[in-house]
Amino acid sequence: MKKWIRMKYTKWYNILKDGIAMNNPIAIAVLGICSALAVTNRVENAIAMGIGVTFVVMMSSAMISLLRNYIPAKVRMVTYMVVISTFVIIFQFALQAYFPAIADSLDAYVGLIITNCIVMGRAEAFAVKNPARYSLIDGFASGMGYMLVLIAVASVREILAFGTFLNFQVVGDGWINWVSMAMAPGGFFVLGLMIWGIRELTKNFEGQVGEVE
């Protein structure tokens, strides 16, 4: 118990809590919505995308953090882009070489990671100001926060749209698929309702963000 209380005051615990819950990139910060809408029609897609984003955001945050004292302010953004792209491509290579099956199902989304604002956002908001080990934890936290919301949205959408969860049939034979759930509007509805619910429950409204820190 004592250990638990002490842990609550360690920096890494707070970074984790902040990334996953308090400042969840999708539910609270509303970042990376494009890809969240695109891939959440199936849970397996959500998981694959989550892993990809986590890897890329961790690696690029760490690298930018290492370079943070050398990056000229003028080319800051460009540097982030180059670093992020590099890791996305390396990730793609690695998947294709060692996990060809996963690479196939992820193929179209890997490119999308480059344009995911979460990665860029963490680089600008955290990595460029903090040491590498914390940046690594922060990247992991953001990636996990992203992945958890994706999985939650995808679970709803996949069950309604296809009657399956992770490709296993979970509803009876009489089930009629909600076609609209498989399409982008379905994503909007589910994600919108979910964000609304979360904010309502946590009393987290715009203008009161100051409370969190």
Binding site: V39, N41, P72, V75, F93, Q96, A97, D107, A161
Partner: protein
């Protein structure tokens, strides 16, 4: 300045480091990625052939069971045991290329398996195209009947369900499957384009018809009638009735492919040509010296002749193989040949369209009779013309693939000038917004217009057909098909222009008297003219005796042309007349003294009776030539005559 320099150095270093990282990663993974990609294709091929493999032995299993055949840039994967064939396809999907593999049963028609190897469609929507449960819908469908998609409950042999919410992807996927099948089919069945060319050459050589590289296709189209029945294709010389077919059988060292040309009796070998073979020591099999030994031999009932064996071919293996090949292939073609319907079946809707075009009334019951008694068929190579007996109007069928929505087929009826449109009919089309193209209101606008030199006149465009696309396509179709038909029509022998010499010779043969003034009237009154394909018979109304014109170019001195008159039994010679010849020392061949020796002889089964040879004709060459001519032309005419009377 130093700030800028720092910036430059940083950018340069960043560039170097990141590209270094990427190059390194690529170097490490490249081979594995290639191997994976290779394995993916091989895996898809093996899946389709239902051959088990693991990721470790996939390359060995593939090498053991699959034969790769590359023809003209097309790659086919063939299962050695089941005969299934697979090929790759690629085409534009909704977002990006869809690339995959189709496996067909050994019949090259039924889909056994489809795998998508790469696609970029919307995940969960168009992306379903790559999923097994969806692809399983295609198994057992007939791809040769042009696949089509339906909203739900696909039951037809060529129908497949749509993907919910992904009409675009489904449409382009079905289109690319059909298109790639159409591209692969002729290659698979016919071999490479080089092989096709060689095949055509061999056929024409066999018929002794001259051509150049440029005229090859035209000459082939005009002189050769291609008839396919029960998977067997026959090439028929429209003039002589000689028949050629392609054989492809296992020789001693591999497949021997070639062309066999037979006389119209379908028994006597005219010429054999080898187009492709895999012999090595027996490679001489392709030499003319060797092949010509077979000429004039009868292949039925069994080919057995003493040919000079090929020098060097081990134990005459190739030689023996050759005999077997010829006999086996002959037997398989003979059965089909004997059952070959006399005329190609004209589908009911075309019969109707043709009669409509001539304005001839018919009922469903008597349509065939009405057609037979009013319409004469004239064939030139693969072109068939339908001529109305009374008005001499001409109709032909056209079939072009260049409509806006797909193939357009129908019938064009022209005045005897072969220029003015009498009626234009569309029997089959795939237009959607331009569907009005088949309405009579639209089609009747063409009536009375001249189609030559090029159809172009203001016509009301179809309402709704996008930017006149269908209208434009129709014009193009009319012009294109017309040009091809026109060329063939011009080469059809004109019965009408039968020269006076022949008219006289024919009347002489029947012993009908005439004067110089009334010769044509007498001809018209006393005789019936009947056509069968390109053959024309002149029949005397009272005695039913038959005359025909012969024209052969293998006299001793050149072409010999004339008229043969037979009794109604089509066997006994009534009179034999030579109208034109180029004999010099054998010029006496055209004298009545000589010719009358043939009177009363039977020409069948083969003309051979002691006849006084021509005095002075070198070693009886002209006499021999005459006999040959009579027999040869007789056989061709006999076949047509039999057909006519069936």
């Amino acid at each position: 300045m130093s700030k800028n320099l720092k910036l430059m150095i940083f950018v340069l270093l960043m560039g170097l480091i990141t590209s270094g990282l990427l190059l390194g990663a690529s170097a490490i993974t490249h081979d594995r990625i290639e191997l994976n990609r290779d394995a993916k294709l091989k895996g898809a091929v093996l899946d389709g052939f239902e051959i088990a493999y693991t990721s470790f032995n996939i390359h060995e299993v593939f090498a053991e069971n699959v034969t790769i055949s590359e023809i003209d840039d097309f790659v086919f994967y063939i299962d050695d045991t089941s005969g299934r064939v697979a090929y790759e396809f690629i085409g534009g999907g909704l977002w990006g290329d869809i690339y995959g593999l189709v496996t067909l049963e050994a019949d090259f028609e039924t889909i056994a398996w489809i795998t998508i190897l790469k696609q970029e469609e919307t995940p969960g929507l168009g992306g379903v195209v790559a999923e097994r449960p969806y692809l399983n819908n295609f198994v057992g469908k007939k791809i040769d009947q042009n696949l089509e998609y339906v909203r739900s409950n696909a039951t037809g042999d060529n129908q497949v369900d749509m993907i919910t919410g992904a009409t675009g992807t489904t449409a382009s996927f079905i289109t690319m499957l059909n298109a790639s099948y159409q591209a692969h089919k002729p290659i698979w069945t016919g071999g490479s384009s080089l092989f096709q060319t060689n095949l055509k050459k061999a056929v024409l050589d066999g018929f002794n018809i001259g051509y150049t590289d440029e005229t090859l296709n035209t000459v082939f189209d005009i002189s050769v009638r291609v008839r396919t029945y029960l998977d067997k294709t026959f090439y028929i010389d429209t003039l002589t009735g000689a028949v050629a077919y392609q054989f492809s059988e296992e020789g001693y060292g591999g497949l021997i492919k070639g062309v066999m040309t037979l006389e119209s009796d379908f028994e006597t070998i005219m010429r054999i040509a080898i187009v492709e073979h895999g012999e090595q020591r027996g490679a001489g099999v392709i030499e003319r010296d060797y092949l010509d030994q077979y000429n004039n031999q009868k292949i039925a009932p069994e080919l057995f002749i003493t040919v000079e064996p090929l020098a060097g071919a081990t134990v005459g293996s190739t030689n023996q193989a050759m005999m077997n090949i010829l006999t086996t292939s002959y037997q398989s073609f003979l059965d089909v040949w004997n059952n070959l319907p006399e005329n190609e079946e004209i589908p009911q809707e075309y019969l109707e369209a043709i009669l409509d075009g001539f304005g001839i009334a018919y009922t469903e019951a008597n349509i065939n009779d009405v057609f037979a008694s009013n319409v004469t068929l004239k064939a030139k190579g693969s072109y068939v013309f339908f001529v109305e007996n009374a008005t001499q109007r001409i109709a032909y069928r056209y079939e072009v693939g260049s409509g806006y929505g797909g193939e357009i087929k129908g019938v064009m009826t022209l005045e005897p000038d072969f220029e003015t449109i009498v009626r234009f009919e569309i029997v089959e089309h795939h237009e959607v917004r331009g569907a009005g193209v088949a309405y009579r209101d639209y089609l009747d606008q063409y009536i009375g217009e001249k189609i030559t030199p090029e159809l172009f006149f203001p016509i009301e465009p179809l309402a709704g057909a996008t930017v006149g696309a269908t209208t434009a396509a129709v014009h193009e179709i009319l012009n294109e098909s017309y040009q091809a038909q026109k060329a063939a029509w011009d080469s059809v022998p004109e019965v009408e222009e039968l020269s006076r010499t022949y008219v006289e010779a024919i009347l002489d043969g029947f012993g009908i008297l005439y004067t110089e003034a009334n010769v044509f009237d007498v001809f018209a009154n006393k005789l019936t003219v009947k056509n069968q394909g390109s053959f024309t018979f002149y029949i005397e109304k009272t005695t039913q005796r038959v005359a025909y014109r012969y024209e052969v170019d293998n006299g001793y001195g050149g072409a010999i042309k004339g008229v043969m008159t037979l009794e109604s039994d089509f066997e006994t010679i009534v009179r034999f007349d030579i109208v034109e010849h180029h004999e010099v020392r054998g010029a006496g061949v055209a004298y009545r003294d000589y010719l009358d020796q043939y009177n009363g002889e039977k020409i069948t089964p083969a003309l051979f009776f002691p006849i006084e040879p021509l005095a002075g004709a070198t070693v009886g060459s002209t006499t021999a030539a005459v006999h040959k001519i009579l027999n040869e032309s007789y056989q061709a005419q006999k076949a047509a005559w039999t057909a006519l009377n069936e």
